[in-house]
């Protein structure tokens, strides 16, 4: 082999092994806005184990926890200083796309500008009651006076409790100040609280393994009917505006575990990331991990998520105002 042939071959190897121009990161970081151990973290790490093989150049994938302020710290940092080349994506709260609808005065970012890569989840949350409380139906939950309803700060669990109380005229004693779902579970187990709304099915299964619970209502914009005996809450609402407003509040269940790239990421890079994440999300090893972790996966591709968010912001302003009124 002449020197020239060897050099040509070497060059060809280099060119072939060089990542495409639209994506040339050696390392991709999945930054998670929640602490280690949370379902977000476990999901990101499982996805990260598969993602590298589907990206050009097989980059190293790292998962980092940048928690604080319910994921808002990460979001703001990322929007200010995050890379635009696809070398870092973030996993944020599913309530973020909704923030500008529910809290327009305090939301400084535009969720419509985000580059949605995909969402891993589309599943309802539930209202659960302790067996000891005797509240085994949704009717009993909303008609029994003095029900102690637990909620975590001003999160979606608080919104769900307040909205149900207002719409159905329930006489809840909504207790805020729990630090997280774990503390709520403890309070339910002790019998201090009777009910909790906005819990995911995996959390519920974990809770039910320790003590007896009832699932009395399904909270989602559309019916899933996965758990028998759980009433679909929108079926109980007659007024169309209120019904749509409530569906809007539960929109976050439609886009659970969202992965987002920087708004200024080039479209071709976004496409590469979307394809790779989609492949990782359907990889058998990832699916097996999720089964083992009890995290329900229902992937929505990025373009579809983008369309859903655009649609959200085209909702009738009167309905948006009704949704805000329900949770204030």
């Amino acid at each position: 082999m002449t020197f020239r042939t060897a050099a040509s071959l070497a060059l060809a190897v280099v060119v072939l092994s060089t990542p495409t121009a639209a994506f040339d990161a050696n390392r991709v970081s999945i930054q998670v806005g929640f602490p280690p151990g949370a379902s977000y973290d476990l999901l990101a790490r499982s996805a990260g184990n598969q993602l590298g093989q589907y990206l050009p150049g097989n980059p190293q994938i790292i998962v980092e926890n940048v928690d604080g302020a319910g994921g808002l710290r990460l979001l703001n940092l990322y929007l200010q200083t995050g890379p635009r080349d696809g070398s870092a994506v973030i996993m944020i709260s599913p309530s973020v796309p909704l923030d500008r609808v529910l809290a327009p005065e305090t939301t400084t970012y535009d969720p419509q500008r985000f580059q949605y890569i995909l969402t891993f989840g589309n599943a309802p949350t539930y209202c659960v009651t302790t067996a000891a409380s005797g509240l085994d139906t949704f009717d009993k939950l909303i008609t029994t006076p003095g029900v102690v309803m637990a909620s975590v700060g001003t999160s979606s669990t608080f919104y769900a409790a307040v909205a149900i109380e207002r719409i159905f005229g329930a006489d809840f004693n909504i207790v805020t100040g729990f630090r997280g779902v774990a503390e709520v579970n403890l309070s339910l187990a002790r019998g201090e609280a009777h009910a909790f709304c906005g819990i995911s099915s995996s959390e519920f299964e974990r809770m039910r393994a320790a003590f007896d619970m009832h699932v009395v209502a399904e909270l989602a914009p559309e019916r899933f009917g996965l758990i028998e005996g759980a009433e679909f809450i929108l079926d109980r609402v007659q007024d169309p505006t209120t019904r749509e407003a409530l569906a809007l509040i539960f929109f976050s269940n439609r886009v659970r575990f969202p992965v987002v790239a920087h708004p200024d990421t080039p479209p071709e890079t976004v496409t590469i990331l979307r394809d790779a994440f989609l492949a990782a999300a359907t990889d058998p090893a990832f699916v097996e991990d999720m089964d083992r972790l009890g995290i329900e996966i229902s992937v929505t591709p990025g373009a579809e998520v983008q369309a859903l968010v655009d649609q959200l912001y085209q909702t009738d302003p009167a309905i948006q105002a009704a949704a805000r009124a329900l949770i204030q």
Partner: protein
């Protein structure tokens, strides 16, 4: 019995014992480096457990987490910098022991207590298997509120002969704990628009600043860890072991405190350590070394408690799937990765795994303490290493340990600011431990009060456990006050009286500012900060008046607090701040290398090639721990670097 034999048979398989040993080694290394702690370790190890069976996975994870509080004693005793927040109480007497040429004794006592505490905790966990669930459900938020109030009275003990300063320091700590979003309404309190502060001031950074920096400054001007230059006390380790064995009642009672309180979600390791420490200080025989000046019981009590706590905190995680801390939440994730569901099934079909976990904890504690004891002979030699060598290295690790928390410029800013506060408090004899206790317990006091009142109303005051704890609280305060009155007149005169007046004035101004701004918050968000800052303002103004109008004796120069030392210690913050700026401008590697070489050249005594080697070794350790083992994205340096 069959279950125990099955578990033992599974665990002693060589590959699983190897996993346990790897976990123990990882835990010992992580415990030594200030600022990183168990969350870092578990984040590092959990991904490795995907491919392991449950026995091997939990041997690795529990091996690591069980010994963190064993090796964190090393920096706590030697340089006064707690390796993890669980070693803050150990600093109180452990570091003074090292200064007195008793590092070996402190280590011997600490490791023996840690080992007994860890094994005892594992036994408590085993014994509590049948009653796990009722045990966890026994205490409600009202009881936790009573425990918190009891914890706050420990300030009286930590304040020593300066109760007013102790109370002011504790109130200041409580106020610092209120920074961030309030737990009821999510209203911002003293966040100044910074998202960084929404979750409050970062505990690890604050404690590294408050305790680590002042001790390093003090060490720097002392010249070496030991005050005298004699060789390390021969037989010191054996003496420490004998101390721990002689104090077996203290070891067991502190271990009981650790394992029982550890089982209660919401009570952190810091409060458990202080309760154990405070309990130890109740007994002081004539001729004993005063607490805070190197009493070995002050090392034995927290070290027994913090190792026993690990097993205790597993109880709610296993029994109910309810993690009491972030560390336990990560461990809970490992349960699900292994297909295990916490709850009653852990006691039936997964019983061998549960027993293997208990055995892993016991074995890990024995291995960890054994390894540390074996190393002690070499470690105590560090007590004679010149401070000009040790301090720059320690400052680099403290700074990197602080910066890794959030990788934000504010990590370093708070490290330096609280370092300054720590130096001032240290030199003016304001109890930093009281501040630390207030900082940890203040947010709990507020949250548990709201939760208790919402869930139980005022009827919580009629709960038997609450009545018992509050009665104990009153008894402890009265007893302490009597003891204090008996010892009136032994208090040291105030050092730096004018600086003390200035500092008190500054605190009074801060308290008034906090009172005014808290009064503008919504009631639920503002009531606790208002009451706290109101009390702080009243106390500081009264104390200021006392200092100004009631003449106090100025302290003459003394070897332990020479005039001018204070200012020099404050000036040491300048190179520390320089390191912080270097890290932001050029990244951690260039900064660490540059800082160590520059300090070496400035302080003299070391040839350049040796300095370069030392700096490169530090950079290599930083690379291995913070980049290779746990790859992460660091902020881009302002100028250049990586």
């Amino acid at each position: 019995m069959d279950v125990v034999l099955t578990a033992l048979g599974e665990l002693i398989e060589p590959s699983r014992l190897l996993m346990l040993a790897c976990g123990v080694l990882a835990g010992l290394v992580i415990g030594v480096i200030p600022g990183i702690g168990g969350i870092f370790g578990l984040t590092l190890l959990v991904p490795l457990t995907y491919a392991l069976d449950p026995y091997a996975a939990f041997a690795l994870l529990l091996g690591m987490s069980s010994v963190l509080t064993t090796s964190d004693t090393i920096p706590a005793v030697l340089i006064g910098v707690p390796g993890t927040v669980g070693a803050i109480a150990t600093v109180m007497d452990g570091h003074p022991m090292a200064k007195k040429n008793q590092a070996g004794r402190a280590f011997g006592a600490a490791y023996t207590s840690s080992m007994i505490g860890g094994v005892f905790g594992a036994l408590v966990l085993a014994a509590s298997i049948p009653i796990m669930k009722p045990l966890v459900l026994f205490l409600n938020f009202g009881d936790l509120l009573a425990v918190t109030i009891f914890g706050l009275t420990l300030v009286a003990i930590l304040a020593g002969s300066a109760p007013v300063k102790g109370l002011i320091a504790a109130l200041l700590g409580i106020l610092a704990g209120y920074v961030g979003l309030d737990p009821q309404l999510g209203t911002e309190r003293w966040t100044f628009g910074e998202l960084y502060l929404w979750e409050g001031l970062p505990v690890a950074v604050i404690f590294l600043g408050l305790f680590g920096i002042p001790e390093l400054a003090s060490l720097f001007f002392r010249g070496q860890i030991q005050i005298s230059s004699t060789k390390p006390e021969p037989g010191g380790v054996r003496r420490g072991i004998r101390d721990a064995l002689r104090e077996w009642k203290l070891v067991l009672s502190s271990s009981t405190i650790g394992s029982l309180l550890g089982a209660v979600p919401g009570i952190g390791i810091i409060i458990i350590d202080w309760i154990a420490y405070a309990r130890a200080t109740r007994r002081r025989r004539p001729g004993d070394v005063p607490y805070g000046e190197g009493n070995v019981r002050g090392v034995i009590a927290p070290e027994s408690a913090n190792n026993a706590k690990e097993s205790g905190s597993l109880i709610p995680t296993i029994a109910l799937g309810i993690p009491g801390s972030v560390t336990m939440a990560i461990l809970l994730g490992a349960f699900t990765i292994q297909g295990l569901t916490p709850g009653p099934r852990m006691l039936t079909e997964h019983a061998p795994i549960l027993v293997a976990m208990i055995l892993s904890i016991a074995l890990a504690n024995i291995m960890g303490a054994g390894l540390c004891l074996a190393l002690t002979r070499h470690l105590v030699k560090l007590a004679l290493v010149p401070a000009r060598v040790l301090v720059p290295l320690a400052i680099v690790f403290v700074a990197v340990g602080a910066f890794v928390v959030k990788k934000d410029v504010l990590d370093l800013a708070f490290l330096i600011s609280f370092g300054l506060l720590g130096i001032v408090m240290h030199n003016l004899s304001w109890p930093r431990a009281a501040f630390a206790l207030g900082f940890v317990l203040g947010p709990n006091l507020e949250r548990f009060s709201f939760l208790t009142l919402q869930l139980s109303g005022w009827s919580w005051l009629t709960q038997p456990v609450v009545i018992a704890i509050l009665a104990l609280t009153v008894f402890a305060v009265v007893q302490r006050e009597r003891a204090r009155r008996r010892s009136v007149g032994t208090a040291l005169p105030q050092a730096y009286p004018l600086v003390n007046i200035g500092f008190t004035g500054l605190l009074a101004t801060l308290a008034v500012y906090c009172l005014v701004t808290a009064s503008q918050l919504p009631f639920d968000a503002g009531v606790f900060p208002m009451v706290t800052s109101g009390l702080l303002a009243a106390l500081t103004i009264a104390y200021l008046a006392y200092l100004v109008f009631v003449r106090i004796r100025p302290q003459p120069s003394s070897p332990s607090a020479p005039i001018g030392r204070f200012g020099s210690e404050v000036l040491l913050l300048v190179p520390a701040a320089g390191l912080a700026v270097l890290m932001l401008a050029f990244g951690r590697y260039i900064a660490a290398i540059g800082f160590i070489i520059a300090c070496g050249l400035w302080l003299g005594g070391t040839k350049l090639p040796r300095l370069i080697v030392r700096a490169l070794v530090v950079a290599l350790v930083i690379f291995i721990v913070f980049d290779l083992l746990v790859p992460q994205t660091w902020p881009k340096p302002w100028l250049f670097g990586f």
